[in-house]
């Protein structure tokens, strides 16, 4: 599982630029599925044919990133954000462009307090000395992502882009296992989740599944002085009750709970106010598609150093395997 995750997190793929991730996934699963194709939004849709229910499993390929808006005459880059990038967390980070170029995010040191360190007071230094030199390496509109190579330590994985390559890894592993079922399984690797749950919408519209599950990350409440009530790392995958984009269909949530209990898989419930998932756009598509979610407890979401517990990841795959067989 760690190797699968590593290959996926190492692929460059901010929202709208997911093609490299799609290539990695395609190589991983193309021999194990009946059909695999991309749609106009860049979603990668792999099908394992069956005569039973059409079940869509969705994990998003895109990661958050930065987009170059202007280049100054000293060769420093100003940027906007792609998805929910927290300004303070960006500071001091290395970022990487699609062509491999590395930059460093820093701030205008004239600001009075770090509270004022908004995105418009920050810049990326790529070591260029002039605008012309910079423009040989990047253009306005180019995107960069955080650097943060994957590390396995003490049963945990630390990396950038675990949101949501960990979900992609679970789907890829599941597809490779070829679970025996009559149901028709759609492994859907979606695009543009971080900018409005966009890819999943068109994929669901095209597929018209009977039901759908989004596999994504959820924040934990187990770090010093964090908000109480949230899930903990290592206590099992979280079965979604609600997030800010969807209330899980009660029958799907119950079915997931039954599958977990029947198979002795630990689980937690996810009830959060903030953040959405692909289920949010899927469930209101084409007259309504009953949807739910399985979420991987994740610390430090949307940073260059997200953390998941490998047991939770493996248990999520087991839970989904049991679910798609019913």
């Amino acid at each position: 599982m760690f190797d699968t995750i590593s290959m996926l997190v190492n692929a460059f793929g901010p929202s709208g630029r997911e093609n490299r991730v799609a290539e990695v996934v395609t190589q991983m699963i193309k021999d194990k599925v009946d059909e695999i194709s991309s749609d106009a939004m860049g979603n990668l849709i792999a099908v394992k044919k069956g005569s039973g229910k059409k079940i869509m499993l969705a994990a998003h390929m895109d990661e958050i990133g930065l987009i170059i808006t202007t280049i100054d005459d000293k060769g420093f880059l100003r940027f906007g954000t792609v998805g929910g990038v927290l300004p303070l967390i960006s500071l001091g980070q290395r970022v990487v462009f699609e062509n491999g170029l590395t930059g460093v995010v820093w701030y205008e040191e004239s600001i009075e307090s770090m509270k004022d360190a908004k995105i418009d007071k920050m810049y990326i230094d790529i070591g260029a000395k002039t605008r012309e030199q910079a423009r040989e390496l990047v253009e306005i509109g180019d995107m960069a992502v955080f650097e943060g190579r994957p590390v396995e330590q003490n049963g945990l994985i630390i990396s950038k882009a675990l949101d949501d390559r960990v979900g992609c890894a679970i789907l890829a592993e599941l597809a490779r296992r070829c679970p025996a079922t009559d149901n028709e399984i759609y492994y859907v690797f979606t695009t543009q989740e971080e900018v409005g749950l966009r890819g999943a919408r068109t994929a669901a519209y095209a597929i018209r599944p009977d039901l759908a599950i989004a596999i994504d990350v959820t924040r934990t409440g187990d770090t010093p002085k964090s908000k109480p009530g949230a899930v903990s790392l290592g206590e099992g995958p979280a079965i979604k009750v609600k997030d800010n984009s969807v209330i899980a269909h009660p029958r799907i949530r119950e079915r997931l709970v039954d599958c977990a209990r029947e198979n002795g898989i630990p689980f937690q419930f996810e009830v959060v106010d903030k953040g959405g998932t692909d289920a949010g756009s899927i469930h209101i598509t084409a007259g309504g598609i009953p949807s739910g979610g399985v979420s991987i407890p994740t610390r430090f979401i949307h940073s260059a150093s997200e953390i998941v517990d490998i047991k939770d990841v493996e248990n999520a795959a087991r839970l989904l395997e049991a679910f798609i067989k019913f």
Binding site: G229, R253, V271, I284, A286
Partner: protein, 350 residues
């Protein structure tokens, strides 16, 4: 059933957003008395159909959402107290010392605790209490609480329906059961008049969190005309006069960019002709109601929005007037039946 009793019955039903499954049968039972057929879809939208009696009937959708705001359990602490967050727009100020029902393994009474004033240090006495600091007390210790309640269980407010003077009723979930009452009253009215068109009377789900039911309903029914019924702010002290409407002065007919100009005009004309009390509700934005979904669903559905003024919205003491419910019902029914007979002059530019 009289409107008064109907509303009481509707308000006694629990359908916290996303858990309408617990209530769909009850709603379906109420609609079935006045419909040719009633079905419940996969998301628990309750869809009643009264068939039209004319030739080439068109399809009219009239919807009122039946979900209600509430709370959801997010944790159980070591002493058996329940942490929670809101389902829909709940003002934390209105929660202290509230009675609730926790819909756990079985329904449990509970109270939202509030620190007595004696124990609040003076420097904190003016500070608002935050939702995340409030707890529900169900009287059990942690072990029993964990047996009966799980994270994700929903919580509803307990407040009996009060009958007040002047045909006014107060209670929780008047948003939007008063509109469901109007939907049923409209069906009753339609029994007395001949109507050409098929009328889909739909009690929709999850309006309070993303207008969810409206997406399904418009897609599945593909109506030629949609009428959304919801509540608008009742006039109360300190309320801005352009955004609030006195109770008992009639149904509010919304006028605005997303609403069909042709149908809105005709509807106002009919209200005047039939002497149905009405008020005009100017909505400069998308209205925040199901009308927003309908008007841009499919190829675009001509949409009307009728509202019942409700004071103290999103509290447990929402107040409405039965007279306004009656006016909304009469206007909707008569518009559906008589809209073709109205003089449509000056509508060419719609």
């Amino acid at each position: 059933m009289e409107c008064r009793d109907l509303l009481k019955k509707l308000c006694s039903i629990n359908a916290v957003i996303g858990r309408e499954d617990a209530a769909a049968q009850a709603i379906s039972g109420i609609l079935s008395d006045y419909c040719d057929e009633v079905r419940v879809d996969a998301f628990y939208n309750v869809i009643g159909l009264r068939k039209g009696q004319g030739e080439n009937p068109r399809n009219v959708l009239v919807s009122a959402h039946y979900d209600q705001i509430g709370l959801i359990v997010t944790g159980i602490d070591e002493n058996g107290f329940l942490r929670f967050t809101n389902m829909g727009g709940v003002d934390p100020k209105t929660l202290a010392a509230m009675e609730v029902t926790v819909h756990g393994r079985r329904d449990l009474h509970g109270v939202i605790g509030s620190k007595p004033p004696h124990l609040i240090p003076p420097e904190d006495s003016d500070k608002p209490v935050k939702l995340e600091d409030m707890l529900i007390d169900i009287g059990y210790g942690a072990e029993q609480a964990r047996e009966l309640v799980s994270v994700g269980d929903v919580v509803s407010f307990r407040f009996p329906v009060l009958e007040l003077k002047n045909n006014r009723m107060a209670g929780r979930s008047m948003d939007n059961r008063s509109s469901v009452a109007a939907l049923v009253e409209m069906l009753k009215e339609l029994e007395r008049i001949r109507h050409r068109d098929n009328v889909y009377a739909v009690a929709t789900v999850q309006e309070e969190s993303g207008l969810v039911g409206a997406f399904m309903t418009s897609w599945n029914l593909k109506p030629d005309l949609a009428i959304a019924i919801d509540v608008c702010h009742g006039d109360m002290p300190d309320a801005p006069s352009d955004e609030s409407f006195p109770l008992g002065k009639g149904v509010a007919i919304a006028v605005g960019p997303i609403l069909s100009r042709k149908h809105t005009r005709a509807c106002i004309k009919l209200a005047r002709q039939e002497k149905i009390p009405y008020q005009i509700d100017a909505e400069e934005k998308d209205t925040g109601t199901e009308a927003a979904v309908y008007s841009s669903a499919l190829e675009g559905i001509p949409t009307l929005l009728l509202s019942i003024p409700a004071k103290y919205m999103h509290t447990a003491v929402e107040m409405v007037s039965l007279d306004d419910i009656g006016a909304a019902a009469r206007l909707a029914a008569r518009y559906i039946a008589f809209r073709d007979e109205l003089d449509q002059e000056g509508d060419s530019n719609d």
